[in-house]
């Protein structure tokens, strides 16, 4: 049945989600950090994790940004085809993001042009992805991703005949080259299949999956475990000081692809993985 909502509802929700994402660390990530703390032996690794865990508590208590890099505002909308939004949906999203960054005291990290580079001072514009789904609801996901980890993310177009081990090597080498830049322990999102852009998109969505909840596909779940083990053998450790935990988890999403290709995107997300989600 057709449902009508006011665009203001979207604005309010987007605002709340960005404030939540930037100040309240996801419970699954916090649990992962605490588990990692128990698994570390070296003083320095424990010290780094203690600070990272304390940081989450301070941020939540003071409503302060978990990390000063509060990211570009990325929004995923899955809109039901029977939903009518009264007003301007894109403007409503932008307004919600702008309000969150102002009221949350988050950093304006966006420049108006990639070459001229003048700060927009509003953190606008956001990046909006939309998808049409059955139903009359709208699912909203937001990501505030810092660029420390964004800058070390990668994509490679594999041959369809390349062995799976070469994909594992690609992921492990990407993490190795990144070193301590992306703020380990990281959460690794991987997108496999589709097209160049689809693989990247999947690798972003992959980090929404709760940490520790493996893929439903058995062969993919096995691959996730294998990559996680290899990545942790790198011993980059928390904050790059060495140790057992370089990554908290690996999440792979797949999509059918072309007979001639096998795109693989690696989206590295820092220990302050900031996402939030709601359905209206």
């Amino acid at each position: 049945m057709t449902r009508i909502i006011d665009a203001k509802l979207i604005t309010d929700k987007i605002k709340d989600l960005f404030i939540k994402a930037n100040t309240c660390l996801r419970p699954d990530i916090l649990a992962g950090l605490k588990k990692a703390r128990k698994n570390e032996a070296k003083e320095k690794s424990k010290y780094a994790l203690d600070i990272i865990i304390k940081n989450a508590f301070i941020a939540k208590k003071k409503m302060l940004a978990i990390c000063q890099d509060t990211g570009m505002a990325v929004v995923y909308l899955k809109a039901g085809q029977s939903l009518i939004v009264k007003g301007n949906l894109k403007k409503a999203v932008a307004k919600g993001a702008a309000l969150a960054y102002k009221k949350g005291y988050f950093r304006s990290s966006v420049v108006d042009d990639p070459l001229i580079r003048k700060n927009t001072n509003t953190n606008l514009p956001p990046i909006i992805y939309t998808d049409i789904v059955p139903g009359n609801k709208i699912n909203i996901k937001v990501v505030a991703k810092g660029f420390g980890c964004e800058n070390v993310s990668k994509i490679r177009m594999f041959r369809p005949t390349d062995p799976v081990s070469s994909i594992e090597d690609f992921v492990v080498n990407t993490v190795k080259e990144a070193g301590s830049r992306p703020c380990p322990p990281v959460y690794i999102g991987i997108g496999m299949g589709g097209t160049l852009d689809k693989a990247v998109s999947l690798s972003r969505e992959a980090i929404f999956r709760p940490l520790g909840k493996g893929s439903k596909d058995k062969h993919i779940a096995r691959l996730e475990k294998s990559i996680l083990k290899k990545v942790n053998n790198l011993r980059i450790g928390p904050a790059g000081v060495g140790g057992n935990t370089t990554a908290l988890g690996v999440s792979i999403l797949t999509y059918p692809t072309h007979i001639a290709g096998l795109p693989v995107s690696v989206n590295i997300s820092c220990h302050a993985t900031r996402t939030a989600e709601a359905t209206i």
């Binding site: 302060l64 940004a65 990390c67 950093r107 220990h271």
Partner: protein
């Protein structure tokens, strides 16, 4: 953990060991990408820059806006390697310490040794925690750069590891 007071001197740096965990207290400047480019362009053109680099420590950070009740907003380190193209020149002009996160280039590591300077790392992504280690913050140059302006910070017991010296 040993407490180190800033400004750094060559004598203090001599006592530091690679990998040593320390707590830093004293004055630092902040600068990141855009401020580095401006400083570097001005120095190359032989112009006067708005800060004195001699003996100074730069913290690579672009904080979030502060609430009135706080000295500063969230203020963790940004990736140091983006400053690599500018660092040797700043070291030549007297820069003595740097605080950031991540590895530096070979060229920067050599320049740090040559100038008997030090590069500290701190905990990336711990901006809220580190904000409690900053006692005051004041913009002193390039205000138009917003979060990339140069601040003067007073820090106390700021956790760091001597990474390159």
């Amino acid at each position: 953990m040993r407490k180190i007071f800033l400004p750094l001197t060559k004598d203090i740096i001599k006592t530091l060991k690679q990998g040593e965990m320390v707590l830093l207290s004293g004055r630092v400047l902040t600068a990141r990408d855009a401020a580095h480019k401006r400083l570097s362009d001005a120095l190359k053109a032989g112009k006067i820059i708005p800060v004195v680099l001699k003996g100074e420590t730069i913290y690579y950070v672009g904080p979030t806006p502060r609430r009135k009740s706080e000295a500063i907003g969230s203020c963790g380190p940004t990736t140091s390697s983006r400053m690599d193209p500018f660092t040797p020149l700043l070291l030549k002009h007297g820069l003595t310490g740097m605080i950031g996160k991540g590895e530096r280039s070979k060229e920067v590591n050599l320049a740090i040794k040559k100038h008997k300077a030090v590069y500290f790392i701190t905990i990336g992504g711990a901006g809220a925690y580190l904000s409690e280690k900053v006692k005051s913050a004041k913009i002193i140059a390039y205000k138009d750069l917003g979060p990339e302006a140069i601040y003067r910070l007073e820090i106390k017991d700021f956790p760091a590891i001597a990474e390159v010296l």
